[in-house]
């Protein structure tokens, strides 16, 4: 079942009510895609966890150059993402593109087994990031298509739950492997490759290769004579409710600094032993995976845009906890709120973008929303770095939190004010 613009407008008023009456059935495709992401995250996060050790310990290199490389990688990944989304819409088949993305990351794992120099390692990580950029938008379009429209955010929640389980298992698995065979990083890479291969296999074999727009429906659209598939136009994307969503997500993204800063601020207060550092990420993830489905469910029943915007309030509170508090309850509060923020925004944004996308542009719209957010966050991290340098962690964190609190009502008004026609549709 796809959701065309006309269907969506006709049922907009009753959408949230229907979420209460239509029973939720977890789609096998969504679960399969969740398992694909789980395996892939086990694969990538296990490597990520030991990479600093491998680069410094086994290869005898310092991490300095790695830091510079990271920023570049994220930019490439963001740009590839929107392109892959567009390609999925154009070809009308998201699966082959998703397979290509997951496959590329799998190939990077093979490369990791043979890469020895720093340049080789960087090339392999770059390849992995490009693969991540390619696969995200087509995969989310597939989730969108396989989900009941009434339970879109909840379906994305199910996927993000499985995805985050993988991201949490990955580092722990890697450390367990290194306990078994100390110093054998290649063993971690082999485990990672096996997980990646299994992920691609589940995707290729269990996820149906469905068209985003079914043929008979496409034929009804007389303006699409050439290929039967609409050509997503960026001009159309930025107009109307989707454009507003991109604008709001972009501005909120500008106030979303990297998680690393939150962890560093927590460490800076000095109450935590250094060895806790890797576990902070696990802690935030546990909250993310616990809340992903419930918050998706609430978003479906009330308002997806509302949950998305209010999620940023949780982020502001997380910054306040991390910036101001220096005792254990504040640390836990910061991690819980950070997890809540991701649970309220990550899958919900994809659901929103998919819902608001004009006919035949689901994948491009989701890719665009994620690119806008990723690029905005990149700017946020760079800008925040400067703020952190000049003002110190506490003041900088509190400033960003204050700006977020100020921006949330503006975002709410832009997306949710009832007096303007297109916005009220967002609550469906």
């Amino acid at each position: 079942m796809y959701l065309s613009l006309s269907d969506w407008t006709s049922r907009k008023a009753s959408g949230a009510d229907r979420a209460k009456t239509v029973a939720f059935i977890a789609s096998p495709t969504v679960i399969a895609l969740g398992i694909v992401s789980m395996l892939t995250d086990i694969s990538s996060e296990s490597v990520a966890a030991v990479l600093p050790l491998y680069i410094t310990g086994a290869l005898g290199l310092s991490m300095v150059a790695y830091g510079f490389f990271e920023g570049m990688n994220q930019s490439i990944s963001s740009l590839v993402r929107i392109g892959a989304g567009y390609a999925a819409d154009r070809s009308n088949k998201p699966k082959p593109i998703a397979v290509a993305g997951y496959g590329l990351s799998m190939a990077a794992r093979i490369g990791l087994l043979f890469a020895t120099g720093f340049g080789g390692i960087l090339a392999v990580i770059g390849l992995d990031r490009i693969g991540k950029g390619i696969r995200t938008a087509p995969r989310d379009a597939m989730i969108h298509q396989a989900s009941q429209p009434e339970h879109l955010a909840r379906s994305f929640g199910v996927h993000r739950l499985l995805d985050t389980v993988g991201a949490t298992i990955g580092p722990l698995l890697a450390f367990a492997v290194l306990m078994l065979v100390p110093g054998d990083y290649r063993m971690v890479f082999v485990v990672s490759l096996a997980a990646a291969v299994s992920g691609v296999a589940v995707l290729a074999l269990l996820v149906p290769n469905r068209k985003l727009i079914q043929q008979e429906d496409a034929e009804e659209n007389s303006e699409e004579k050439t290929s039967g598939v609409p050509r997503p136009k960026f001009r159309e994307l930025v107009r109307g409710p989707l454009g507003k969503l991109l604008l709001v997500a972009g501005f909120l993204g500008l106030l979303t600094i990297g998680d690393g800063f939150v962890y560093l601020a927590l460490m800076e207060h000095g109450q935590l032993e250094a060895s806790w550092f890797p576990l902070l990420f696990v802690g935030a993830n546990l909250f993310f995976l616990s809340f992903a489905v419930p918050l998706g469910r609430i978003a479906d029943k009330t308002s997806r845009a509302g949950v998305f915007i209010l999620g940023h309030l949780a982020l502001a509170l997380a910054y306040i906890c991390a910036g101001a508090g220096d005792s254990l309850p504040f640390h836990i509060c910061a991690l819980a709120l950070l997890g809540t923020f991701y649970a309220a925004t990550d899958g919900v944004l994809a659901a929103l973008a998919g819902q608001l996308a004009p006919h035949g542009t689901t994948s491009t719209a989701i890719g665009a929303a994620q690119t806008v957010v990723a690029v905005a966050r990149l700017f946020a991290s760079t800008g925040f770095g400067v703020l952190w340098i000049f003002l110190g962690s506490t003041t900088a964190m509190l400033i960003v939190a204050a700006l977020l609190v100020l921006l949330v009502p503006v975002a709410w008004r832009l997306l949710l004010s009832k007096d303007k026609a297109p916005e009220s549709a967002l609550t469906s």
Partner: protein, 343 residues
Amino acid sequence: MTRQAAGMSAQIRWLILAIIAVLALGSVTVYAVQAFGRYQARTTGASAAQVTDKLVDGNRIVFRNTAMGQGYGQIASVAIADPAGPRELFQTVCDRVDATAQYISCMRTQRGIPTTFETRILDAQANSIDEWPLSGVPSRTRISEAGLVATTAFVTGHSYATDSFSTETVIRSVQGQDFGNLENYSIFIDGQELTAIDRNVWGVTFATENKFYATVASAGKTWMVEGNLEERRMNSIIENAECPSVAPDQSKVAYKKRRAQGGLAHWDIAVLDLKTQKETLLPLEQGFDDQLEWLDSQTLLFGMPRTDSVGDSDVYSIKATTNAQPQLFIKDAWSPSVVRIVK
């Protein structure tokens, strides 16, 4: 689901998936068994290097043994007069070591969930005296004659979440005095106080029991600084100089100098004459990434990882003059430290 029936039936798909899963798991198991065997061989088989029970007392080089076999990763030492000769091994495994006639500073990785790190102090007979936790991956350590211990660790979180790294450099004494994190010292760059929070300090080298040199970085630039422990203060000397190492006579400092070029980081060796402020550059085609160590007043030592064998490395020597070329000094060794027995 009807549309996919054109290809394979659901049963066949599940069967193929099961086969792939079994193959993947099987390969992991086979590799794990082999890896464990290799680990056993690496740690229990005969060492690839020539080993001796006891070195003759005298000037020696203490380092991390990277020869495969028994004693891999352990502290080792060879006589300065015969660096290619037999090595004496000590039980403690370290990632980085530095030694004086009295003490050995050893930065170690403790496997576990999560993996943790520590600094361990040993006496000349390699008996453990003290240990304290390290906040990240071991990077550099230096120990002074009287027992000041400087350690630099890379503090990395989850690398996909953080877009930068930071270093933590602390100084403590063997006697238990804590001199704190060098980031919190007053830092002056060309006379201006550096207040930036993104400042990082790494690679300490001790000139005296109060004076040291180190690297300070902020906003993408690096400086070599001269530090004063008592005043908790550091002043910049020159820009673009990392991981200093002061010569035994304290007239010169050798360090890493980053070559101006796009892309990957490439470091050459440079030596600064502290009196004349004259810098001598030793370009290295291969580049290097280590804290240098003075073998004598004219010769420098540094470690180079092997490109053909992960986990193995060699120590090279190079004359501190322009156009000098590195020579292989100790095979299967890392983190060299010259111990001079003062008579």
